[in-house]
Symmetry: C2
Subunit: 436 residues, 2 copies
């Protein structure tokens, strides 16, 4: 039994009708449902709410809310299995991911999507063009043989299955490809869906099918309360390519499409880079917010250097923190395996934790309710040498337990032993006799 609605969440919010998903998201986010509905009506907040995602716990992404973290999952050809993907989803959820995307592009993608969705209480995203490309390759020998119908069929199947948001590379146009070719880049295109789209356009000498058929896409999105995550096919994949003409031209297109989404009552986000040097990260956020009318900004990284494969959870945590401070709303994690291979469950966990650190560091200065207080409570526990509270308050208590088991004693820790500054100062300022 599938649920199909006549009015979208956004349309109802504009008319003052606050749907249950918004009420529940408000409760979970710790903000008034009215505020959330206002943000939704304006298009600066999204509330994932595909009615077919039955076990979804309501949440929201956007202005004034806690910075959210997405974990990318998914198989690659012949490398990963359903069991592996379940283990990765479990790892992502345990580490505190706020959303996941299934980027599977191997055998049995429909089964994997169904199984993962069934065990996933957080918003769930996909890139439907992968499935269309896979099918075209299997049936007709090449990804460029996919048809417009294949793409829309894939979108509708995934929406019907309960996917809450989909990446659609709608901003890559003929004119943009011309810019890409004339300027030259170190790393050209690193978006997989973007590369499929570009290859299709060049092969058929036709405009981007999702740009050409954007109204049809909006129609589908309305049917399933599907959030369109407007993808950045031309996100820079090298520091040298950041904030260049093709990237900004694509963003201009996405800005116009944000308006069309809003006119159609369809929720949308905008995706962003990528590899960006430290001093351009804030500018990228300001640009997106201005050109896209404050639409939620979903960034992949940004990675602030190219040279640290094996540690890109760290390079992206640096960029992600700055981006989120500047206003990015949603951080797509990057795992230590990035640029090297498909991540395993440990990589997934490390990626989620690093992105959560970045998001929280930004939430402290964004003024997200409760963020600064969390740090204060931790530091108060630290000052009191209250290890139980420190463990409980830790972003990842399991890691604290691992270190405690290894080296912590009661009272002071092994870093300073009896020469603990916290203890010395408590005694000195308290007028007590020093115990060391």
């Amino acid at each position: 039994m599938l649920t199909v609605k006549n009015k979208t969440l956004m349309e109802n919010a504009r008319e003052g009708l606050i749907e249950e998903a918004v009420v529940r998201a408000g409760l979970n986010e710790g903000v008034a449902a009215e505020d959330l509905a206002r943000g939704l009506a304006e298009g600066v907040v999204v509330v994932p709410a595909n009615p077919n995602h039955r076990n979804l716990v309501s949440a929201a992404i956007g202005r004034g809310l806690r910075t959210k973290v997405n974990a990318n999952l998914g198989t690659s050809s012949g490398v990963s299995s359903l069991a592996d993907e379940k283990a990765k989803l479990q790892a992502a959820l345990e580490a505190g991911a706020d959303a996941v995307m299934d980027l599977s592009i191997g055998e049995g993608v429909e089964e994997i999507l169904r199984e993962l969705l069934a065990m996933c209480p957080v918003p769930f995203g996909t890139v439907p063009i992968y499935q269309a490309a896979l099918k075209a390759r299997e049936e007709r020998g090449s990804i460029v043989e996919m048809t417009v119908e294949d793409i829309f069929d894939s979108i509708e199947r995934q929406a019907r299955a309960g996917v809450d948001f989909i990446t659609v590379h709608t901003g890559l146009r003929w004119e943009t490809i011309g810019m890409l070719q004339s300027q030259g880049r170190v790393a050209d295109v690193v978006s997989r869906g973007g590369s499929f789209t570009l290859a299709w356009m060049l092969h058929h000498q036709k405009e981007n099918p999702l740009y050409e058929n954007f109204d049809r896409l909006l129609h589908l999105a309305r049917r399933y309360e599907l959030i369109l995550s407007l993808g950045d096919a031309l996100r820079p994949g090298a520091i040298a390519d950041a904030t260049d003409q093709p990237q900004v031209h694509e963003l201009l297109t996405l800005g116009t499409l944000v308006k069309r989404c809003r006119e159609a009552g369809v929720q949308c986000m905008v995706e962003g880079p990528g590899h960006v040097p430290l001093d351009q990260v804030e500018a990228n956020v300001i640009l997106q917010k201005r050109l896209c009318g404050g639409a939620p900004f979903y960034v992949l990284g940004p990675l602030v250097t190219d040279v640290a494969p094996g540690y890109d959870h760290i390079t992206s945590a640096i960029g992600g923190a700055i981006a989120a401070m500047a206003g990015a709303d949603f951080l797509c994690y990057v795992t230590p395996a990035e640029h090297l291979g498909l991540p395993g469950p440990d990589d997934v966990r490390d990626g989620v934790i690093a992105a959560r650190i970045a998001g929280h560091a930004a939430d402290i200065v964004k003024g997200v309710p409760g963020a600064r207080e969390w740090d204060r409570r931790m530091s108060t526990a630290r000052k009191a040498l209250d290890w139980e509270a420190q463990e409980r308050l830790a972003l990842d208590p399991s890691k604290v337990r691992a270190y405690r088991g290894r080296r912590l004693e009661e009272g002071e820790c092994t870093m300073c032993g009896p020469f603990c500054a916290m203890k010395v100062i408590s005694q000195a300022l308290g007028g007590e006799k020093l115990t060391c």
Copy 2:
């Protein structure tokens, strides 16, 4: 046979005499010796060069140079051994640390210092008050029983052994303690040396002995070409305490002491925070550079949140990158063990790598020669699917090897398999038939 000089490196640089250590440091840094000598003369660059550190490979820290990374080593009471410390030093050097500090405060500190120095080609630092406090505790029952002579004796012994730079908590004054007490802090004092100094001052009701005897300290520093690293006893140890009155008052004092160092021909650096929210990191650097006449800034972190014990290499990489972009010259690593216990060799390695990532990300935008080119070479290798070059160019090749061994095939990687964006785009833009 000890070497004692009449004129310091800085004095000679001012008179146009470029000593061998400066020439060699220039070669190693890839900058002209004349430029380095000019920075040294001005006090915006330091060249560690204790003649008694026989195996020192010359380097420099400061304006216009690659951001450097320090790794803290050292035993705690009864927890760690000489063998452990040697293993940690080895790990730090292999991971690419530019300097190390031995913060040992346990049994056999003199032997550990001697042994570590003998195997250490990078600049070597200590906090001599630790040894003075340890001795006072052993001989007279409490750290507050240390005398001014104990402190200077400890400094001289370590300088004679070959230490290149020492942290001295000279900025903590009576007036500053009053500010600390009247305003209240969540975490009071988290600097170990700072806590010893404060406890001593309160116990004896006397001014900071190193502030009072600063000329004597300068005299010693001249004798051994010792760099004074002016410590921040009141660095914030909690986000809530950042950039507060006591911290800034201490920095004001350090600014006046920088002038006295320069007048005496003594090289110095200034140490900085600590726990600092994202939006205050840049301000802290600007403040230090202004108040301390552009003296090299040596920051511990900064950590941009308190709540991630077990991952403070990441919280500090975020703050360190922003600090270095704003002008910080020298990053003291923080390991994942921070706030939990004494680090082991793996923690040391992870800490060094994370800090190097932060420093390099900043060097890209600071315009440090070669920094941006390194990223371009890596991305070019990535685009060419040249795995051998990617491994060679990686900040940590061993990590790339570990992942490669696990999951890399020839050509594409397991992330995308045949659907590699790099490959698809090369074929599509090159007008070739797609192989997928």
